[in-house]
């Protein structure tokens, strides 16, 4: 499974995402209540463990981190693969 599919599956399991894949990737998951603030810790742990990466503070506070597509790109960058 690609990183993109894996991230989309993670969020879809939390809340049904509507729209095209492009719209799903544009989803700002906190603003739209897909997960709450406390869910961020679970999210970080999940992907850090799955891809053996470590999110840095600058990644976490970036605008990119706040959308599903942005998160995919960060994980791709940190893991060095697509």
């Amino acid at each position: 499974m690609s990183i993109k599919d894996s991230v989309l599956a993670y969020f879809s399991a939390k809340k049904s995402l509507s729209g095209s894949e492009q719209e799903k990737l544009a989803c700002r998951y906190l603003d739209q209540g897909v997960i709450d603030s406390m869910g961020i810790v679970e999210l970080m742990n999940h992907f850090e463990e799955q891809y053996e990466i470590r999110f840095e503070a600058d990644d976490l506070q970036s605008d990119e981190f706040q959308s599903i597509g942005g998160l995919v790109k960060i994980i791709e960058r940190l893991s060095g693969r697509k």
Partner: protein, 378 residues
Amino acid sequence: MLSLDVIALPAEEDPRHWILYNVFTRTCLGVDSRAFAWLATPPSSEGDVLLIWNIGWFSNEEGTMADPTRFRRTVREWGEPKQVSYQAFIEACKKELLIIPDEATYRQRFTRKHSPVDGRHFGNFHDQIGAHLLMRMRAQPSSWWLKQKFTEDLSAIRSDNLYGQVQERFLRNYLPRRLNQGAEVLDLGCGIGFYSNFMAEQGCHVLGIDPNKDYIAIAKRQGLPGTHFEVRDIGKPGALDQLSDHSFDYVFIQDTLLFYFIPISHNDSPDLAILLSDLYRGLKPGGLLISIEPHPTYYLAPWLGNESTPFTIVTEHRQRRFSTVPTTAEFTNAILHGGFELKCIKDLYPDTSLSTRDCAFANEFPLWTLMEFAKPQA
């Protein structure tokens, strides 16, 4: 442009080095003194270099009563400098918000964070500590809060910070004099019940309530005879409906009411009017509401200056961009509006024999205020 919020402070022990400090964002850079010339005029030679140090750190990760200043004070603690060109120096200044793109864009960032990963808005202190704990320390705020206030076995308040040195010392003296033997006390926002137990030791019957079920589980485990603990979602409609009318001689509230004025999350909206109405109903005529809350002006103000002669810079009073405490007038008027009468107000100071930086600061600038409000006799 250089932000107007920036000041320069000499580093302790080596005044050839300076701290450039944004007093609003609490971000900073250690620099050698040539930085001042560079800020005024770029160096003529491209090969010129300057020494800078990254000296900022989230000092409150050690606790809410720890030094809130957020820079390393002495050059000894600064570590190795970076030798930087003029361009790299300007970039470092931008990163630490000493140089800002423009005033309007910068000011827009002074609002609450939407979430812990919102890096665009600075947020108030609670937003910032929440983001720091979750994102950088990977710690759960409620566990961290216990560790920064209590000893490891949770049986005592830590004596190595201002909770122990100011608040507990004051209350150990004040409560036995104030409370009558056999009094009925409601400890609102009791946490793990430390002061509930202390009041029970003075012969009171204490009902401790708190919305955090983990804290109440600990309170029940450690509870002394004379205490009873319940989880209640205080501030929500109906949360205190079960309190009997006119049943308490005292309501004791410590470091709790601030959350009714400035909620811990921008999504929360606890209702102070409902709470005060319940407390008024629950108190006996002549009963006392005793509150100890952080001082609105000095709590979380930077601890600047010489250790023995501290000073601070107040950056806000009415507009709460960073602070999490209402003004004295807002706080007092809200409680008076609930039908109570103000009986007494005291600022809390440490024992004057203590001379560490935190005590020296707290001895000049009170970090807590106690107020007694009475329910009228009839």
